[in-house]
């Protein structure tokens, strides 16, 4: 079985830091920036643990603001 690897890009300025992607990720890839905020004052999401990403798109699906783009490769 081919191994799958993924990566996501979060639109930092669009993100509202709702945390829904964080809890939806099966691989605990994502987290909210603990201190830094974007221009609108939100602690935005980022890949804290990028290696674990399997490109399942769960984060993208649940993001209400359409901030997440997901990429996937089969190795």
């Amino acid at each position: 079985m081919a191994k799958i690897k993924g990566a996501v890009v979060v639109n930092k300025e669009r993100c509202k830091g709702c945390e829904l992607c964080v809890v939806a990720c099966p691989s605990k890839v994502l987290a909210l920036q603990p201190a830094e905020v974007n221009d609108r004052g939100y602690h935005y999401a980022f890949m804290q643990n990028p290696d674990a990403c399997i490109g399942c798109a769960s984060c993208g699906l649940v993001c209400p603001d359409g901030c997440i783009t997901v990429y996937k490769v089969k190795l």
Binding site: D39, R40, G41, Y42
Partner: protein
């Protein structure tokens, strides 16, 4: 005596309640007061502001286009209100939310690192009380005694145990405000 004040920031920063405490404090000093908020749809994260007027005489218009004092807690509000401060007036801002500080030179500009202090105090909710302290340091329009009375009036009974902590925050604010 008459003070025309605008307080502005993000929705969650306690802008309206800071204004409310100021208004209540004025009430305790037997002043005339008006408190006029911006109001809008419920969504979190927008900006909010409130106009507070304290006066010894009957207040005519509660709506103002220029202010003696502006208290500014985020960037969009700074952009909106910087030029509404009367020449010679005061502008206070919190450094945390403001990346591009005010540029006017015909007004007195003060900075208060209230958010930093609040984080230090482990109580980001205290932000607005710290700022209030800063304001009162510059403009002692109401006595501390009446501020505490005002706090009591504006907080529901079940939150009265928080008053000492609020007092501390106000004192903190008085301490850390400084000319920008």
């Amino acid at each position: 005596m008459k003070e025309e004040i605008i307080i502005a920031g993000f929705g969650g920063q306690g802008v309206l309640s800071m204004g409310k405490i100021l208004a209540y404090s004025g009430l305790m000093e037997d002043k005339e007061v008006t408190w006029m908020p911006s109001y809008g749809p419920e969504q979190r994260g927008g900006t909010a502001n409130v106009t507070v007027i304290l006066s010894d005489e009957r207040i005519s218009s509660p709506v103002l286009n220029s202010f003696d004092v502006a208290v500014i807690l985020n960037q969009p509000s700074l952009e909106k209100f910087e030029n509404k401060v009367k020449p010679g007036g005061i502008l206070i801002y919190d450094g945390y939310g403001i990346h591009h500080p005010p540029t006017r030179t015909d007004i007195e500009v003060y900075r208060i690192n209230a958010m930093e202090a609040a984080i230090e105090m482990n109580n980001t909710k205290a932000l607005n009380m710290i700022v209030l302290g800063g304001l009162l340091k510059l403009k002692p329009m109401v006595s501390m005694e009446n501020v505490l009375k005002g706090l009591k009036k504006s907080l529901p009974e079940r939150h009265h145990h928080l008053i000492p902590m609020n007092e501390q925050a106000i004192l903190k604010g008085m301490e850390i405000i400084r000319k920008a």
